[in-house]
């Protein structure tokens, strides 16, 4: 597929939308990739894919609950129809994404999907979901390959995928800039686990770090499930690297931190990771071994709308959401989808809804200036809608937990905002 295709399709969709309008016979589907009809009393079905088991489950649950909250705010209804969620566990892996997507795509009544949690899952899921004519809007998949890298479509890009999460190109840039400029480090090694997210992030980091004048001394890949990190760490030790950037998940990240402290030659190595380890449980496990470690994390939104959301969330689920702000991104993602449905739905007198799938995609891509919890959202042609700022935090006091870590902000990117 050439890079111009999405634009062509967008144009085509706009023409079709104009052609449809209220004048079109409501019972006839003229959408290029099909319609969903919702009979009176029948629900509007949405899919949800999140990591609901494994190490990422706490985040996955939080994101699911945020989606539900977005529905609750609307009384669980849209255009006089109840909204029904079909929730699937996409794990945090490619195969999990595939399986969940197959289940979602099997139901022709589902109009769109919120999720998934992880880029790895998103990359495989989108192949299925996109083929089925669905839209999927994720709040936490940040791998650049899912949308675009350097103004070009990413390797995993699919039509119909949008995200309110940041593009990790930004995160990698933030981490490299901080390491080079603020910490003054010049030799850096990276570890990824082969997942699009970790790989993408590591690649960006190396790219930016090299651009800034630093030296990428080693880029290693580990496998999910590995427990012995010493060979990798020994390799790093051999390179005399000053910094290790390893945006992996748990528990592999736990092993890296713990074993790095045992490997000779790594005594002065600076450790830096991303949101994959931004959990209380991680801090608890690594304890003192993690002291001095840096993290990149999106900045939590601020403002009255967000405060109201947090209050609602706590009331509903009797605990606050985590310190990563992806709950807010999820809430925004769900609202973008619901708004788009509202915008494109053609309703008969008897209440029957007609939803054009392409129309829905187009409406989402056309999002501009939407005031969400996470800020003003405008989607680009590759599906990136997120507007984000990043913090770099340092773990000084493991006893203070994630709250203490989140509060210990040492750098904000882009600087000066």
């Amino acid at each position: 597929m050439s890079q111009g295709n999405p634009l062509v399709l967008l144009l085509l969709a706009a023409v079709l939308l104009a052609g449809c309008g209220p004048a079109a016979a409501p019972s006839e589907c003229t959408d290029t990739i099909g319609c969903v009809e919702v009979a009176p009393g029948e629900p509007i079905k949405l899919g949800v894919m999140q990591a609901l088991s494994g190490a990422m489950a706490p985040q996955g649950l939080e994101l699911l609950q945020s989606t539900e909250l977005a529905l609750d705010v609307r009384g669980g209804e849209l255009l006089g129809h109840p909204i029904q969620l079909q929730t699937e566990d996409s794990l945090c892996s490619g195969e999990g994404g595939t399986t969940a997507a197959l289940k979602i795509a099997a139901d022709p009544q589902i109009v769109g999907v919120v999720g998934p949690s992880c880029s790895g899952a998103a990359a495989t899921a989108m192949k299925v979901v996109s083929d089925a004519g669905l839209v999927m809007i994720s709040s936490s998949c940040s791998a650049p390959s899912l949308t675009s890298v350097g103004g070009e479509p990413g390797s995993d890009w699919q039509l119909g995928f949008l995200r309110t999460a940041q593009n990790d190109a930004l995160v990698g840039r933030a981490a490299a800039t901080f390491a080079f400029q603020q910490l003054g480090l010049r030799k850096a090694a990276t570890i990824d686990d082969g997942d699009p997210y970790t790989q993408g992030l590591a690649n960006t980091f190396n790219q930016v770090f090299n651009e800034l004048g630093g030296q990428e001394v080693l880029a290693l890949t580990i496998n999910r499930g590995d427990t012995n990190m010493r060979p990798a760490l020994n390799a790093i030790a051999a390179t005399e690297a000053e910094l290790l950037f390893f945006p992996v998940f748990r528990p592999e990240g736990d092993y890296i931190v713990l074993q790095a402290r045992e490997v000779e030659g790594l005594e002065n190595l600076t450790l830096m990771s991303a949101e994959g380890l931004y959990f209380d449980a991680f801090i608890e496990v690594v304890g003192k071994a993690g002291v001095g470690m840096y993290f990149t994390a999106p900045v939590r939104p601020e403002g009255p709308a967000y405060d109201v959301f947090i209050a609602r969330y706590e009331t509903q689920y009797e605990e606050p959401p985590a310190f990563t702000p992806y709950h807010a991104h999820t809430y925004d993602a769900a609202n973008l989808l619901l708004n788009a449905i509202e915008a494109v739905a053609v309703q008969d007198k008897d209440g029957t809804l007609h939803l054009g799938r392409q129309a829905l995609r187009d409406a989402l891509y056309a999002t501009a200036g939407y005031q969400g919890l996470t800020g003003s959202l405008t989607c680009d042609e590759y599906g990136d809608c997120g507007a984000i700022r990043l913090h770099v935090t340092r773990l000084d006091d493991p006893a203070a937990g994630l709250a203490g870590l989140a509060a210990n902000v040492v750098y904000t990117y882009p600087p000066g905002e």
């Binding site: 195969e95 595939t98 197959l102 289940k103 099997a106 139901d107 580990i222 590995d226 060979p231 390799a235």
Partner: protein, 945 residues
């Protein structure tokens, strides 16, 4: 007719075409109405049948469709599930076995089959989807579309994943060109290059790297490969420094090392990818398995649904049938009602009208509004009624005239009838008066005779006693006077009894109690009884019994009474000659004749003599005695038994009285026949009381036996008689008596012979024999073994003395307690005196209550009980006794003057030993009865004890 019916029914007759249905119906004939009704019924039956057929057919179709669909769905789902399981096994086998069986072989064995299974799975899944969308299935199954979609896409995905995985494995493992082969090749090239340097340090590093590599290939743990990579770093440096390698050699070795590391990285990537594929298989299995289970559950539910549908359909079919049935019943009812309203009710109305006409209402007319045959009939009937009415009008005048005549005749007739009625009434009153008088007479006689008998019994009893006790005290003249008193009293008693009998017979208050008995025995008994009355020496008693006479079944007592009566008469009027008793059978009757050679009866008196109180003439009574009631009673008794008594007589020659009796008294079933044992004379039949000394008297003269019985019984001996020597011998053997009293002059076997045979027989030779004969030959007697020898006429005391030497009499052994219960002190006194000589200790009680008290104080051995007493009577005493266990077996002898009814007799026979009439209160009989009763009592007591 058919055309008519058709026209009427269809109303095609032009004139009627506008009429309503009820009107048309009214105009139909009965045949048409019935034809229509039954036609409708037939149509109804057809309708119900068709409905049933339709319902059943619909039910069958529905049922079949439901069953077939559900079965097909279930089959497809189960096959899909099985196919999925097979595909999974193939996947697992491919990835598990290729290292052992070789990659090409594994691919060949499993991959193709896997593709086939997946294709089959998809085909079945698509069929299922089609079946579900086309059939009438449950909503749940219809909603499983999503699951089936997923099932299909998962199968697709599975195939794709499998293909990708196969591709990865191919890249990794293909012989010669696969990554693993290339790694080995690079490793070998590197080794050769390093060997050329002949640098041990190089080889050490190489082997270390190799070791980590092998480790990885076994464990597939990436850190092992990372370790290999870590060794590659110093190896690279060592190659660059190695003196054993020139510039080219170093460059070559480094190039081989880079190749090696590149291939190793490739393997790492392939392994990661393969791992992802295997994970995907697992996840797919996890996702598909619940769907598989859900589909299987849905298939089961579908089968259940099919069953439910069958039930529902059958319910609908039944409802349909019931509706049809109800409709049919309603319609049938309607038809019935229509027929009733138009035919039955018309018939009823016509009938009523005819009835009214018959009852005289000539104005009545049938109101039937119908054109059918009944309507026509009603018209005809009405016409006829009108005509009758007219005719009757002229008739009535004639009838009025006739009626006047008739009225006159009628009045006359009524007067005559009234007179007749008055006469009949007078007659009836006279008859009633006569019957009342007759009843009064009978009643009077009964009560009178009862009142007379009580004192008379006392007179006779006391006279006998006085006579007995005063034998040696009173002068002969007085004793003769007592005899006369006794004779007169006896005559009086006889007269009273006869009057009573007659009155009973006349009033029909006498019962017949038939038994079977032997006529010859009866005749013998009667002859014995009357023998003392016969002028001894001058008149012979002759008996002629026809051989082979059957037993007579009738009232024995009454026959005996008749015969004794006839014999008594004969004895009375025969001074010399003979009195002959003959018994003959005439067909089914017995003729019992008593012929005498007496004075005879004049012909004109022949019928009169059977009337009460009639003898040949008034003087006869004075000359011969008698009541003049005997023949009358006899004849009445004979009538009662179904026979008669007739007489033939010639004056001066003699008379023959013949009693004819049916052999079987009628109206009594033969089952009641209780024949007496035959062969032994009845007198000898009675089983001798066990502890009463038994004496056998052998004498050809029954009178002698009788006298012995009378005299010895009083002293406690039981005498059994035998009237011939032969019989005597037999009895002696059978009875083993205590003693034998033997006559000598007997024929054919005389006493000597009998004595000889008795002594010769081992069973009888120890029995003492006392000879009693007119022959005085003591010497011969003693020589033949006689115990004693007495010469006739015998003396009571002498015989008792002899017997006492042999065995003491029973009475002497006991002092028996006797309780006499009677309100008449005379009776007590009399009994006390009668039993003065005997071993009885006598107590008395004046009424029932006193008796019961005396009994409870000290139970007597025997009770002599009167029935009629003030307060608690004899029946009451018996009842009380029988209810008290310890007194139940005390023998009771009832002593009464009361005439007992049959019911009373039966009641008493069940509970008392004997009933004795006070008139027969003879000392000897009383003692005998007391003795018998006591023996029975003792036997019972012993049995109990």
């Amino acid at each position: 007719l058919e055309l008519t019916i058709f026209e009427r029914f269809t109303g095609l007759n032009g004139m009627n075409s506008w009429k309503t249905l009820p009107e048309r119906w009214r105009e139909l004939g009965i045949t048409a109405k019935f034809a229509s009704a039954f036609g409708m019924l037939l149509a109804l039956i057809v309708l119900v049948s068709l409905t049933s057929y339709a319902a059943l057919t619909a039910m069958r179709r529905q049922t079949e469709a439901a069953i077939l669909t559900s079965m097909e769905i279930q089959r497809l789902i189960l096959e899909m599930d099985a196919g999925l399981q097979r595909a999974r096994r193939l996947e697992r086998d491919l990835f598990l076995r290729w290292p052992t069986v070789g990659f090409s072989q594994a691919l060949e064995s499993y991959a193709r089959k896997h593709d086939e299974e997946i294709a089959g799975l998809k085909a079945r899944s698509a069929s299922l989807q089609r079946l579900i969308s086309e059939s009438d299935v449950s909503d749940a199954l219809r909603e499983s579309e999503v699951s089936l979609n997923f099932y299909l896409s998962a199968a697709d995905r599975n195939a794709a994943t499998f293909a990708e995985a196969s591709d990865l494995v191919t890249q990794l493992a293909t012989d010669g060109t696969g990554a693993q082969a290339r790694l080995a090749y690079s490793s070998e090239l590197l080794r050769e290059a390093l060997q050329r340097a002949d640098d041990p340090a190089l080889m050490v590093l190489y082997r270390e790297m190799q070791s980590f590599e092998k480790d990885y290939l076994v464990t597939r743990q990436r850190p092992s490969m990372q370790s290999a990579f870590n060794v590659a770093r110093p190896l690279r440096e060592e190659i660059s420094r190695s003196p054993g390698l020139d510039g080219d050699g170093q460059a070559q070795a480094l190039a081989y090392l880079d190749d090696y590391l590149g291939v190793a990285n490739e393997i790492l990537l392939l392994d990661v990818e393969i791992g992802h594929k295997l994970n995907e298989f697992d996840l797919q299995a996890e996702a598909v398995d619940p769907i598989s289970e859900e589909l299987i559950a849905l298939a089961s539910a579908e089968t259940q649904r099919a069953r439910d549908q069958i039930t529902r359909t059958s319910r609908v079919a039944i409802t349909l049938l019931v509706v049809a049935l109800v409709a049919a019943v309603a319609l049938a009812g309607g038809i019935g009602l229509a027929l009733n309203n138009t035919i039955t009710s018309n018939v009823i109305q016509l009938t009523r009208t005819a009835g009214a006409l018959r009852a005289g209402n000539l104005e009545v007319r049938a109101q039937i509004d119908s054109a059918d045959e009944l309507g026509q009939l009603a018209d005809s009937f009405n016409a006829m009624a009108t005509r009758i009415n007219a005719l009757v009008g002229t008739l009535e005048q004639k009838v009025a005239e006739r009626t006047t005549d008739l009225t006159k005749a009628n009045v006359q007739l009524e007067q005559e009838i009234a007179e007749r009625v008055r006469a009949e009434e007078a007659l009836r009153q006279a008859k009633e008066a006569a019957e009342t008088a007759n009843r009064a007479k009978s009643s009077f006689l009964a009560s009178m005779s009862h009142e007379l008998r009580t004192p008379l019994n006392a007179i006779i009893g006391f006279t006998r006693l006085v006579q007995r006790r005063s034998q040696d005290i009173l002068p002969q003249k007085q004793l003769d006077n007592l005899d006369k008193v006794l004779v007169s009293a006896d005559q009086l008693l006889e007269l009273i009894n006869a009057v009573l009998d007659l009155s009973k017979i006349e009033s029909g208050r006498i019962d017949v109690q038939p038994v079977s008995f032997d006529v010859a025995d009866l005749v013998d008994t009667c002859l014995t009884t009357v023998r003392p009355l016969v002028k001894s020496g001058q008149v012979r008693l002759v008996k002629e019994i026809e051989p082979g006479l059957p037993q007579l079944f009738t009232d024995q007592d009454k026959v005996r009474q008749i015969l004794i009566n006839l014999l008594s008469n004969a004895a009375k009027f025969t001074e010399a000659g003979s009195i002959t008793v003959t018994a003959r059978r005439r067909n089914e009757t017995l003729a019992l004749a008593v012929a005498d050679t007496g004075i005879g009866i004049p012909e004109e008196a022949l019928e009169r003599i059977f009337e009460a109180f009639q003898q040949v003439d008034g003087s006869t009574t004075r000359q011969y005695g008698g009541t003049g009631l005997g023949l009358s009673i006899s004849r009445h008794l004979a009538w009662l038994l179904g026979g008669d008594v007739t007489v033939e007589s010639t004056v001066g020659v003699g008379s023959t009285f013949t009693c004819t009796l049916p052999l079987q008294y009628r109206n009594v079933p033969p089952a009641m026949d209780v024949p007496l044992p035959s062969g032994v004379p009845s007198a000898a039949l009675a089983t001798p009381p066990e502890d009463s000394p038994l004496v056998l008297a052998i004498d050809d003269d029954p009178n002698v036996i009788y006298l012995l019985q009378e005299n010895l019984a009083e002293a406690g001996y039981h005498v059994v008689g035998a009237t011939s020597g032969e019989e005597g011998l037999r009895q002696a053997q059978a009875l083993q008596p205590l003693a034998i009293i033997l006559d000598i002059l007997m024929s054919p076997k005389d006493g000597w012979q009998v004595l000889h045979e008795l002594k010769a027989d081992v069973t009888t030779r120890d029995i003492p024999v006392v000879v009693l004969s007119i022959v005085d030959n003591k010497e011969l007697g003693y020589r033949l073994g006689a115990f004693d020898y007495l010469v006739k006429p015998f003396d009571r005391e002498t015989i008792l003395g002899v017997l006492a030497r042999i065995a003491p009499p029973l009475a002497a052994l006991h002092q028996v307690r006797l309780l006499v219960v009677d309100d008449d002190p005379h009776v007590v006194d009399l009994v006390r005196q009668l039993l003065e000589d005997e071993a009885y200790q006598i107590q008395s009680a004046a009424d029932g209550q006193a008796a019961l008290e005396a009994i409870s104080r000290k139970p007597p051995d025997i009770i002599l009980l009167d029935l009629l007493m003030p307060g608690l009577d004899g029946f009451g005493v018996i009842e009380q006794l029988r209810q008290t266990p310890q007194h139940r077996d005390i023998p009771v002898i009832v002593l009464t003057a009361k005439t007992l009814t049959d019911a009373e007799l039966v009641q008493l026979q069940q509970s008392v030993s004997k009933v004795i009439h006070k008139r027969g209160l003879e000392r000897d009989a009383l003692i005998e009865e007391l003795r018998n009763a006591l023996q029975t009592y003792r036997r019972k007591s012993e049995t109990k004890g």
